[in-house]
Subunit: 340 residues, 2 copies
DNA sequence: TTGTATGCGTTATCAA
DNA sequence: TTGATAACGCATACAA
């Protein structure tokens, strides 16, 4: 089914069909109804090959905003973004990247405003606040669809979320702890930020699993490092001092290497094992040193890659492949961490 | 850079540039040299968007042959193949699938001959024999590129291999055994087929790892089930009878559920744990029953998907993204096995 | 040996 | 309100 065929069947020209398809107005209601009905009946969808050629002419820009500047996890995300950009050069696509530092909603709004003037779609690692939610809805009204990246945005009309399933990440981490400790451990938890949805869900998943499946794992201590590597060392030292029986540490967010350093400095290397998320270089180094045996990963490279592709699919066809593109949680040990 | 621009710069027509690009001959050597030089200098590559439109007109067929009919692992591979086919319908692509049973080189040659008459590219799960190797080379001479799937084909001009890194799969499995057994085990091995490269490499990887990193894991027994679920039960029973000290079983190829059944019937459920590859349904069932804790997976769905895409990329642009597309080995427990 | 015309499917522009 | 036409980049049939 092509526009041409639809046009012939309806006894109109391609231009008229095009006006109906893209809601440009200026079509007699009768004609429009006929065309819509024919389209419905024959199941017309835009052809990617043809569409690609015209999209190319418009040389669309995809804007990307994230709040992880300086964060090695986001270095991988950006590598995926760049890979997607390279693959899309033939389609005339350019990626414009804004890397912010820290979670400042106002700064994010400013970045959105800057990009909104000229991008065809937005990839956003969002701060989950009402101002941002409203802005994303307005963007869509202006014809700019938003894909959320790594973390979702509630109560708004983003077209797609690309990221991981944090709750399952938590259960997977807990199950691995259960296996590696043979079901018996004195566990101390270094939590993340309570207002960051992903951190909370991870912890929830882990606690749910432990309650249901690991009666022999006892939680002896808990502290938060606020997703801040700078805070992690001190908090972990306190934790280890206050709970000397600790033999297992579960790190929910950033600061894994710092927690490991605290374990080393506390002279507990052979006693306490660390379980954590993401294979960032400093964590891998601790894996080499034997402090961390297993990490749970959420495929940062693919997150960046798929988010840009989803944005492009939306430009190309009006919608992404799915409303949620979820990365599987990967269990990694030194043997299946592949260097790029 | 487009053909048009190249043509203008060289003072010739688009047709002439096209003849040079596609080696159709009938071009004066001087003109050809000039054009080739200009292309080289300006780094021309065919545009995907334009190419897609003409490829569509030729409605190419991609042939797929595998020898895993009835094998649940290949059911996932085929699901990936179908997914790729769906995504490529807009490009006019059809997939023609031949599912064979067992490793019969002659049957594979027949299937290749049938497809060779009308396909534009071939995806082949090959039997690694000289006859097949020679046939693949001749296919390329006829203009039909071959992508090998799941298992590679040596000494031939296949354009791309899509599959897993079996050696690393073996080291990963061994490392997981080491972690889960805390470095102490009496291990019995149920090997695969020695002439199947992947099985041999897996075992090699595992043995290398154990020798270097796991002095406390002692190999007490070894048998082969020939990648045949029908044989696995009996072989495993013998193994368990002959080596009653066995507390860990490592299954290299097919027959995981049958080995588990042997463990059950031998009354050794709480004593012996099973480590294996691939999350096929019968294995997952044994995970639910607690006999298998961890499996190493090689992403069958993605293998099928990526193989078809690689074949299409070759049709579209003359070559795939890379000469080897390697799936990562995934460590899976019940918590991160996602049902589709 | 080379150039020109036509078509693929979609969209923008201009004329009616 | 609608139709005709040109354009994107590539490929090919045909004319020169």
């Amino acid at each position: 089914m092509t526009i041409k065929e639809i046009a012939k069947l309806c006894g109109v020209s391609r231009g008229t069909v095009d006006r109906v398809l893209n809601n440009r107005g200026k079509v007699k209601p009768d004609t429009e109804a006929l065309i819509l009905q024919t389209i419905e009946r024959l199941g017309y969808t835009k052809n990617i090959a043809g569409r690609a050629l015209t999209v190319r002419r418009s040389a669309p820009t995809i804007g990307v905003i994230h709040s992880g500047r300086g964060n090695p996890f986001f270095a991988d995300v950006v590598a995926g973004i760049r890979q997607a950009e390279r693959e899309l050069t033939d389609y005339g696509v350019t990626v414009e990247l804004r890397e912010l530092e820290g979670y400042d909603a106002q700064a994010q709004l400013t970045a959105i405003d800057e990009l909104a003037s000229h991008v065809s779609a937005l990839v956003l690692h969002p701060i989950n606040e009402p101002d941002i939610q409203g802005r994303v809805d307005r963007l869509l009204d202006e014809g700019i669809p938003t894909v959320t990246l790594n973390s979702d945005l509630e109560h708004c009309k983003r077209v797609c979320y690309v990221g991981s399933d944090y709750y399952t990440g938590g259960t997977t981490a807990a199950a691995i702890m259960n296996i590696c400790t043979r079901g018996a451990a004195k566990l101390s938890v270094v939590a993340g930020v309570d207002t960051v949805l992903g951190h909370r869900q991870r912890l929830l998943g882990a606690l749910d699993y432990l309650r249901e499946h690991a009666p022999g794992i006892q939680i002896v201590g808990r502290v938060s490092a606020q997703d801040d590597a700078g805070l992690a060392y001190g908090r972990a030292r306190e934790l280890l001092d206050q709970h000397p029986e600790t033999d297992t540490v579960f790190v929910v967010a950033a600061g894994v290497a710092e927690v490991c350093r605290a374990v080393i400095d506390a002279g507990r290397v052979r006693q306490a094992r660390v379980f954590a998320f993401d294979n960032v270089p400093s964590t891998v180094e601790m894996m080499r040193r034997g402090l961390v045996e297993v990490v749970i990963c959420q495929q940062p490279f693919r997150q960046g890659y798929e988010a840009v592709r989803a944005a492009f699919d939306t430009i190309l066809l009006g919608q992404p492949k799915g409303e949620r593109i979820i990365m599987e949680n990967q269990i990694r040990i030194l043997q299946n961490i592949y260097e790029k």
